[in-house]
């Protein structure tokens, strides 16, 4: 298996035709792909070999020495044939010196001991070395709870310190980038961040200065760790040396609830964990998906969640700027809409909406008059960076196309219709008229303007508060045709509702109900009529998504 994103290395993945070899791990013979390193191979059998510098996606440097294991190769007889033990398995000649697991590749008949007394002693020794010059500021360290130093020292270290010398002092609180702060005293010099920046982010900006115990991670004076992937260094730093300014001191990680979802910042659809507590999202972190983003995400995507907590967020339904309630708003709006001819109505929807929302929207459109109602999305393009970010900044363009909501060229017609006054009712879903190129004057002339979304539109006659990506469940199709799932991490604030519910209710008020009570049912209804989703359910989409180009015919 190879990774869809351009990792410099994939030590944890074996290519399809890799032969298997027999290896003895802690006394048990198992089969592992030939040439895989011992750390990755052992992990396949739930043997966790502690490590700091090794990272499955970066070059191997073997500098932390935490992954030392005992290793042996089959004893050979005079004819260079393995000598077999009583159980018919090769007899192993153990090497007297421990070897690093991360740089040792498995071969036929190899023996590995991941937890022998010698191995335990090695780990204890390395842990002690790592801690002697480490500041004891866990109580104020953001990494606490996710710190591998803390974790391994608990499991593999010794309780009392024999170190009574003065510690080496190094720079603390170094501002090395727009989004990152460095504490050199906490750094264990594993060089993961340096390798990541150079090998993955293609920004060779970090380096070590000084030497020996005084080795110091640094940027060159005047240069900054500002690339769009910088925050991944915070994730891979095994200790609290690199911290995110955005997340710093805000929350203890163990209080966070983590919800599996996807980023909606562009059509790559990086898999994420939404870290939230009660009604607040505190961070997004990448979630492994080798078919999409591997272990990474871009900073823009990661920090995009802040609009959720915008203090001006729309949270109450408004009719002509006056607070209302959902029942009134939906009934009145439905009534008003029925007063327009289909040709007078237009829908501007968003490719940032889920498939379920878009599907229900197409139902609403049908109920209001079908094809004669102009309908389109607003496309957004940026620049693909050759790493993760796609040129298409909409996360669900494929879905919008598939469900008949994106109709190329129609936005232009809507715009002129509004300007000419031929369009009298304009429904805008999760977009702004400005972005659609519709002027304020023409909007003012429009008889009915409906705005559904998180932001208030001052000129809309109806403002319907809906949910952010973190507040909803549903599916999207990324740029490569992969169907992926969003999950709700928190509930929407105030009276805000799920988009699909609002659309469903509006549709019901206009043209009768459809018996859809959950988003799962919305998906099911969609799967019944859209061939690309045939036989699928939201459940089946799973945490890692489904490639629709393989399983179903995606147009």
């Amino acid at each position: 298996m190879s990774c869809a994103c351009k990792n410099p290395f994939n030590h944890d993945l074996a290519t399809e035709n890799t032969p298997m070899v027999n290896v003895q791990i802690d006394g048990e013979w198992v089969q592992v792909p030939k040439g895989m390193n011992i750390v990755a191979a052992a992990e396949r059998f739930s043997k966790f070999i502690p490590h700091y510098c090794y990272h499955p996606k970066l070059s191997v440097v073997g500098n932390c020495r935490m992954c030392l294991v005992e290793m042996g190769t089959p004893k050979m007889d005079a004819n260079r044939q393995p000598i077999l033990a009583a159980d018919g398995k090769p007899e192993i000649g153990w090497m007297p010196r421990p070897q690093i697991g991360c740089a040792t590749q498995v071969s036929e008949g190899m023996g590995i001991r991941t937890n022998s007394p010698l191995v335990q002693e090695c780990r204890k020794g390395v842990m002690e070395f790592l801690l002697i010059n480490h500041p004891l500021d866990c109580p104020i360290c953001d990494q606490a709870g996710e710190c591998k130093l803390q974790e391994y020292s608990f499991e593999h270290g010794q309780s009392n310190s024999r170190f009574i010398e003065e510690k080496v002092t190094k720079p603390k609180n170094v501002d090395i980038g727009e989004r990152i702060v460095l504490d050199d005293e906490r750094c264990i010099m594993c060089s993961r961040c340096i390798r990541f920046s150079k090998e993955f982010a293609q920004d060779d900006v970090l380096g070590f200065t000084q030497r020996g115990s005084h080795t110091t991670l640094a940027v060159y004076p005047g240069k900054r760790l500002d690339n769009n992937y910088s925050l991944n260094t915070v994730d891979i730093c095994p200790v609290g040396a690199l911290t995110s300014k955005d997340f710093r001191f805000k929350m203890r990680v163990w209080f966070l609830k983590e919800t599996k979802s996807i980023c909606t910042g562009c059509s790559t659809g990086c898999n994420v964990l939404i870290g939230s507590r009660e009604s607040e999202v505190h961070r997004l972190t990448p979630r492994e998906n080798e078919e999409v983003n591997s272990l990474w995400m871009c900073d823009q995507g990661r920090l995009g969640f802040h609009e959720i907590h915008d203090e001006n967020r729309l949270t109450t339904p408004l009719i002509h700027g006056v607070k209302s309630d959902w029942n009134t708003a939906i009934t009145q709006l439905a009534h008003q809409l029925q007063g327009f001819k289909p040709e007078q109505i237009a829908i501007i929807a968003s490719a940032r909406m889920t498939n379920e929302e878009l599907f229900l929207l197409s139902g609403l459109r049908k109920a209001l008059g079908g094809e004669s109602i102009l309908c389109d999305i607003i496309s957004r393009t940026g620049v693909a960076d050759g790493i993760l970010r796609s040129a298409d900044l909409n996360p669900n363009t494929h879905g919008a196309q598939l469900l008949g909501i994106a109709n190329s060229g129609k936005l232009e017609e809507i715009r002129s219709g509004v300007t000419k006054g031929s369009i009298q009712a304009l429904l805008i879903f999760n977009e702004t008229p400005g972005e659609a190129g519709i002027s304020l004057e023409s909007l003012k002339k429009t008889a009915l303007v409906v705005n559904l979304g998180m932001r208030l539109n001052g000129l809309a006659h109806y403002n319907l508060p809906s949910s952010s990506f973190a507040e909803k469940r549903g599916t999207m199709i990324n740029g490569k045709g992969r169907l992926q799932r969003l999950n709700r991490a928190l509930s929407a604030p105030g009276q805000s509702r799920d988009d699909w519910e609002i659309i469903r209710d509006l549709k019901a008020a206009v043209g009768g109900g459809n018996g859809i009570h959950t988003v799962e049912e919305a998906f099911k209804a969609m799967a019944n009529v859209v061939p690309a989703f045939k036989d699928l359910t939201i459940h089946k989409v799973g945490d890692l998504g489904i490639d629709l180009t393989l399983s179903n015919s995606l147009v």
Binding site: V205, L206, G207, Q210, R211, V219, Y220, K223
Partner: protein, 165 residues
């Protein structure tokens, strides 16, 4: 990063010639270029780092990593007359520490000079301890600038201060 520093034609041609010694990878010329820069300007400033990085298509951090790793490169000027006294065992057995202290006093240098030059107030002399200079049979040894001296007694040290001073 802009490199407005002006270097002489001769310097630049020496640099260009040196780079030809490394047909496989220009980066290999980093150390030689740092030596050339330090010989020319006395120490390696940030300007020097940036100039060399630009010359070799490297990031400044790539060069700065070297300046701080290799003890012979200085980020600040040393004295006009630099003493580098061997600190290591054989010389220490032969009186290397005493020689160091003697020279320090003689040149009125404060500061400890343990790896990294301590400079006399008027900037004329600097002294530092260095590790084994591969002449352990004739300790204590020292270098004055690029010149090497063996079996340096206090008297001989006084002469050297005079000779170079």
């Amino acid at each position: 990063m802009s490199c407005e520093v002006k270097v002489s034609k001769e310097f630049e041609s020496k640099v260009d010639e040196t780079i030809t010694h490394y047909p496989v990878s220009k980066r290999s010329a980093s150390l030689p270029l740092l030596h050339l820069w330090q010989e020319e300007f006395g120490y390696v400033s940030n300007q020097g780092v940036e100039w060399i990085a630009a010359k070799l298509d490297l990031q400044p951090i790539n060069v700065y990593e070297l300046v701080t790793f290799y003890p012979m490169f200085r980020e600040q000027p040393a004295g006009k007359i630099q003493f580098r006294v061997c600190r290591t065992l054989s010389c220490a057995l032969a009186g290397g520490y005493e020689l160091f202290d003697h020279l320090k006093k003689n040149c009125k240098i404060e500061g400890d000079g343990h790896h990294g030059p301590a400079v006399s107030p008027e900037g004329k002399y600097s002294i530092e301890f260095v590790e084994c200079l591969a002449s352990c049979g004739t300790g204590p040894v020292l270098m004055v600038n690029d010149d090497f001296y063996e079996q340096v007694s206090n008297d001989k040290a006084n002469e050297l201060v005079k000779k170079y001073g």
